[in-house]
């Protein structure tokens, strides 16, 4: 296996005292794309949030490492600066803060003007972040946001849900383009993509698939085969 980028071992996560994830193990190597399947409410978003360090999720056991370094005790922005970037499933709207302000604060206004057209966001510079965006626009912005950062580990939470067919290939292309270009430090990028529908598999080359049920990863393997099995038999046969 390639150099390990993300290493999760024995991870338990709770929110407001309620346990959600238990004993999750996951390893992602440099340059790899992993997809995460699972029914609604199984804990997929919780896993991504725990990697990013978002409230109210609390790691109650186990560890998360990025490039060998323990990150589960770090603040959100410290994790981001070490190379984690996340496209949110349901991001908050930030009133009064424009896409341009956001890019300038990150020092990436040049990228905004260069790349926005590829996700059909060319006219968005003056829009307030996620304010009045349609479902599909939210998703495209969340993916585009990762171009403005410079992550090494990309986390996508259902990047294709709510995106119309016309734009779904643009989202797929954008993910591919991010994956193909190394970050500014010249490191290959890795990705963990949550997909509920599996559509995204038609657009990207995924290396490993995982199935999460009830807060636990119950199976890992070749992503297409896993997805076909889910489509044929549902998640029932995969109960631990």
């Amino acid at each position: 296996m390639a150099e390990q980028i993300l290493g999760i071992r024995g991870l338990d996560v709770a929110a407001k005292g309620v346990p959600i994830l238990r004993a999750v193990d996951l390893e992602i190597g440099a340059g790899e794309v992993h997809v995460l399947f699972g029914p609604n409410g199984s804990g997929k978003s919780t896993l991504l949030s725990a990697i990013m360090g978002l409230p109210p999720y609390v790691v109650s056991a186990g560890e998360i490492r990025l490039g060998g370094e323990r990150i589960d005790g770090l603040a959100i922005d410290e994790r981001a600066r070490r190379g984690i970037g996340m496209a949110f499933q349901r991001p908050p709207a930030i009133d009064g803060v424009t896409v341009e302000d956001f890019s300038q604060t990150l020092g990436s206004a040049d990228i905004l003007h260069r790349e926005a057209a590829s996700l059909d966001l060319a006219d968005f510079a003056a829009r307030h972040i996620n304010v009045g965006f349609s479902g599909g626009e939210v998703k495209r912005w969340e993916v585009f946001k990762l171009f403005l950062q410079d992550p090494r580990l990309l986390l996508f939470d259902e990047p294709e849900s709510g995106v119309d067919l016309e734009h779904i290939s643009a989202v797929g292309d954008a993910i591919n383009r991010l994956m193909r270009t190394p970050n500014r430090a010249g490191e290959a990028r890795s990705a963990l993509i949550i997909t509920h529908t599996g559509f995204i598999l038609d657009y990207i080359e995924a290396d490993v698939g995982h199935v999460m049920i009830d807060g636990h990863i119950v199976r890992s393997g070749e992503p297409r085969a896993l997805f076909e099995s889910i489509q044929k038999h549902g998640y029932k046969t995969m109960q631990p």
Partner: protein
């Protein structure tokens, strides 16, 4: 009478503390009046459509000016106003007149300065925008860096005549230990339009403002205020908008942020005539557990065909929004600044760009002193 010969040009120091609140040189303004403590420090205008002079001179020049003084505010409104009305000294303040039909190209500017520590200021300003005239006004207050304490009481009466258009921007920067009381009355004539932006973000000990406006038939008023209270600041704002004429419309948005200080905002909208429309938006954001915001929007419909509404909210900075911005790599401070600036909506405020950066700097300075 004050002539320009007897009035030395502004010093560099004076320009420097006035620039952040909107001051520009004569060449870029249609008129200028600067009051320092109890005197008119500088007055200038080359625009024949604009008259700007000390109020005392105007009272001597035009007999009708005396009727405008205390025309919109009663001398026994309260202790302060009474004190002002009973003063035996000559009134200190500016008189501004924009002539009928004038389309004034450059903004007009007026400022009040407390120039000496523990300075006392009693000001009465009169503004007349005549029928069909159009003008942009920039006004504000400033103090030299060495002055922290002082007391300022001002009365402003503005007459915006029929069909006039007046856009105004007010930026106040007082000293940390100052006590400020201002009373503003505005009469907006039929079909006239006024829009005002107010920026109250610099530290101050106690600032009480009290403003009332009266709107005539089909008059339109749009107000937008941003208010910031660092620790130690106490701001009390009371306002009343009377929709007196048929079809009068008013929209007022106030955004308040406390970083430890206290803000009270009581805004009242009164629908007095048919087909009037009014909206009050009063939103508050708390940056810390300290400090408080009291937001009291009130609607009084005296006419059955008056449509009035309000929205008010007060809350802490959202943890979810902070986490979202920080997940892009922004520090906690940067994320908070972005949310606060966005909330105060500095972009939508019609601020000249140099003023916008000074407003940001004022907030920045006030925050670092209070957090």
């Amino acid at each position: 009478m004050l002539t320009e010969k007897s009035m030395p040009a502004l010093s560099n120091e004076e320009r420097n503390f006035l620039a952040p609140v909107g001051y520009e040189d004569d060449a870029r303004r249609s008129g200028t009046c600067i009051l320092v403590d109890q005197s008119v420090r500088y007055v200038h205008s080359e625009d024949p459509q604009v008259e700007i002079m000390p109020l005392k001179d105007a009272l001597g020049l035009y007999s009708w000016v005396q009727d405008l003084m205390f025309g919109l505010i009663s001398p026994d409104e309260n202790e302060h106003v009474k004190l002002a009305a009973e003063r035996t000294e000559d009134p200190v303040g500016h008189f501004v007149r924009v002539r009928e039909g004038a389309k004034v190209r450059l903004p007009l500017q007026t400022f009040s300065v407390i120039g000496t520590p523990q300075g006392r200021q009693f000001i009465h300003d009169i503004t007349v925008i005549e029928k069909g005239a159009e003008v942009e006004m920039i006004s504000g207050s400033a103090v030299p860096e060495s002055v922290r304490a002082g007391h300022h009481v001002s009365i402003g009466e503005a007459y915006i005549h029929e069909g006039a258009v007046c856009r105004s921007l007010t930026i106040e920067q007082w000293g940390v230990d100052m006590d400020i009381h201002s009373y503003n009355r505005t009469k907006v004539g039929a079909g006239a339009r006024v829009s005002s932006n107010q920026v109250l973000v610099a530290p101050v000990k106690h600032h009480a403002s009290n403003s009332v406006s009266f709107l005539g038939e089909n008059a339109v008023a749009n107000d937008h205020s941003v208010v910031f209270a660092p620790a130690g600041a106490n701001r009390i704002m009371r306002s009343e908008t009377h929709l007196n004429g048929k079809g009068a419309r008013s929209e007022s948005l106030t955004r308040m942020v406390t970083a430890g200080g206290s803000i009270t905002n009581e805004a009242r909208l009164v629908g007095e005539a048919a087909d009037t429309y009014g909206f009050l938006g009063c939103d508050g954001l708390k940056m810390t557990d300290e400090g408080e915001i009291l937001s009291v929007p009130a609607l009084l419909a005296r006419h059955s065909k008056s449509q009035l509404s309000h929205e008010a909210s007060v809350g802490m900075i959202s943890e979810e929004k902070m986490a979202y911005l920080m997940s892009s790599g922004m520090s906690e401070d940067l994320a908070r600044d972005l949310i606060v600036e966005g909330f105060l909506n500095l972009k939508e405020q019609d601020l000249p760009s140099e003023v916008r950066s000074s407003v940001k700097a004022m907030i920045e300075a006030a925050k670092s002193g209070s957090m």
